[in-house]
Amino acid sequence: MTTRKVVLNVVAILVALVWVFPVYWMVNSSFVPTAVLSSFIPTFFPIHPTVSNYTGAVADGTFFAALGMSVGITLTVVFFCIIFAFLAAVAISRFRFRGRRSFVIAVLVVQMLPAEGLFIAQYKMVASVHLLDSVIGVSVIYIAAVVPFTIWMLRGFVAGIPADLEEAAMVDGLSRFGAFMRITFPLLAPGLVASGVYAFLQAWNEFTVALVLLPSEAAQTLPLWLRGFVQASATRETDWGQVMAASTLVAVPVIVFFLIVQGRLTSGLVSGAVKG
């Protein structure tokens, strides 16, 4: 190895340490006892680890209420997103029809619309049908926000399965629907999983729309519940150990699922550019 390469390797390791530090810090602090954490010298390793921060964070039951809300919304969004996106992806990649291009453009434009520019209208709309603080109200907005990218992702998967395969099965006596279910559908499974996980990540992490559409404390999702800890810190002494334990609880499922799909997410977002 040349000196240059050694230096570059060292730089890379240092950058890696800097980048992972906040994640490490979250997990580390979540295991440090409150008494140790409140000293002015930071604790860089949990020497006497404790889980009391975790039990403390979930003690008052609001965690489980928020968990229930998050799970309810996330499952609703994943379920409908996959179905709606799958049907639309089949339509645009298996058929040529008038209005197809307009639909594709609409999907791409909608995908770019920021919740941050729409939440006033979404609030007004959901409030007018009395669905604030409900799973349905938020879910409708989430599905609409997530479905465009899911359609786009699945479109690639459906297009990647040659229609010839289906036709061969039809020649062998299967109906079109049968051919689709037996041949195409199993091949699509990885795509469906990837889009499902994408929808999960979006719904689980979303903050802005939830903040506006779930004003009541009883209807908080996990991100809102977590924010409550920080908010409280402005007025009283924060129990950072508990906040970090709470953050870890919210983050762990996301990190696990994210690692499963990250490759597809990157290529989905920039595929047009990479593949030229």
Binding site: K5, L8, V11, A12, I13, A16, V20, P22, V23, W25, L37, S38, P42, L87, A88, V90, A91, I92, F95, R96, F97, R100, I105, L108, V109, V110, M112, L113, P114, E116, G117, I120, A121, K124, Y142, V147, P162, A163, D164, T208, V212, P223, L226, R227, V230, A234, W240, M244, A246, S247, T248, A251, V254, I255, L259, Q262, A273, V274, K275, G276
Partner: protein
């Protein structure tokens, strides 16, 4: 994507039926709010209207008020500056890390990639709580570590106490979150640059810098363009990070960017007409910026 071997079927009704659920949900969740917002931005929709009075149409009055509102221009200016600085720094750091990934040993690369992936996968709200804790003035690790540098005396500096350091902290956090995506995307682009071309250039005497500038850069330009564009769009609408930093620090108007400004217009001031007008401004800038990205994706669809 170039699997054109598919045989498009010419049915007209089947695909339209398949599209119905997606179209309905998009109209409901996105279409209606956009239309409502355009209409409301042309109305006077303040506190009185919240209590049931009809909202009179006032034409472009909201927009004219916006155009002459010095505070809004300040927010727009700050948002644009924040967006440009953050997006370009993200791009610069991301490109450097991608180049770094391409020139280090396998083990080091794996460590770097895992670390970036962990940072990337952090839910934004969880990430914000850690960063707020790191920047805590009394017990935060950042002031502690800075104090250890000889000659640096932080005196429990409160990072969230001036708009400038507040936005600098926000920018650092957004860069930390966004760099992994940029680095991985550009690295993916780099791996498609052929080694033979680079070797040939090296044999011809091109220095490392020249190889980057004349061979690598032009080849990864499309990726860089798209990544930069997405960063600009995402950083313009930044909301969660600012909102949560305001929770921990000060929520006064000096610390607002466009997202929180609209939020306050809608929630505290209850002025939906003005809030809608500012939202339309954000949407317009977003769509203008995205048109290039959308065109490149459409090209892929037609391929």
């Amino acid at each position: 994507m170039s699997i054109t071997a598919r045989t498009p079927r010419r049915g007209q009704s089947t695909p339209r039926i398949l599209l119905i659920p997606a179209v309905v949900i998009l109209l409901l969740g996105m279409g209606y709010p956009v239309v409502w917002q355009i209409v409301t931005s042309l109305q006077e929709f303040g506190l009185k209207q919240q209590f049931g009075q009809p909202a009179p149409f006032v034409g472009l009055a909201n927009y004219i008020e916006l155009a002459t509102n010095a505070q809004l221009w300040l927010v727009v200016g700050k948002s644009l500056a924040f967006c440009l600085v953050t997006a370009f720094l993200t791009l610069a750091v991301g490109t450097l890390l991608a180049l770094l990934m391409a020139s280090i040993s396998k083990a080091a690369k794996l460590i770097l990639q895992v670390s970036l992936l962990l940072a990337w996968s952090m839910p934004v709200v969880a990430a914000m709580t850690v960063w707020i804790w790191l920047f805590d003035r009394r017990r935060g690790a950042i002031n502690y570590l800075l104090d250890m540098i000889p000659g640096v005396e932080m005196n429990r500096y409160d990072w969230l106490s001036t708009p400038f350091s507040f936005l600098a902290v926000a920018s650092i956090i957004v860069i930390w979150m966004s760099v992994p995506f940029v680095a991985f995307s550009i690295y993916a682009g780099l791996t498609q640059v052929s080694d033979e071309v680079l070797e040939a250039a090296q044999l011809d005497g091109a220095s490392g810098w020249k190889r980057f500038w004349f061979i690598i850069a032009p080849m990864i330009r499309p990726v860089i363009a798209i990544v930069l564009l997405l960063q600009l769009i995402w950083d313009l609408r930044v909301f969660t990070q600012i909102k949560m930093l305001q929770d921990a620090g000060s929520a006064s108007g000096d610390y607002d960017l466009l997202g929180t400004y609209i939020y306050k217009l809608g929630t505290s001031a209850q002025d939906f007409g003005m809030a809608s007008a500012v939202s339309i401004l954000v949407l317009a800038i977003t769509i203008a910026l995205s048109s290039f990205y959308i065109r490149s994706l459409l090209k892929e669809d037609e391929a």
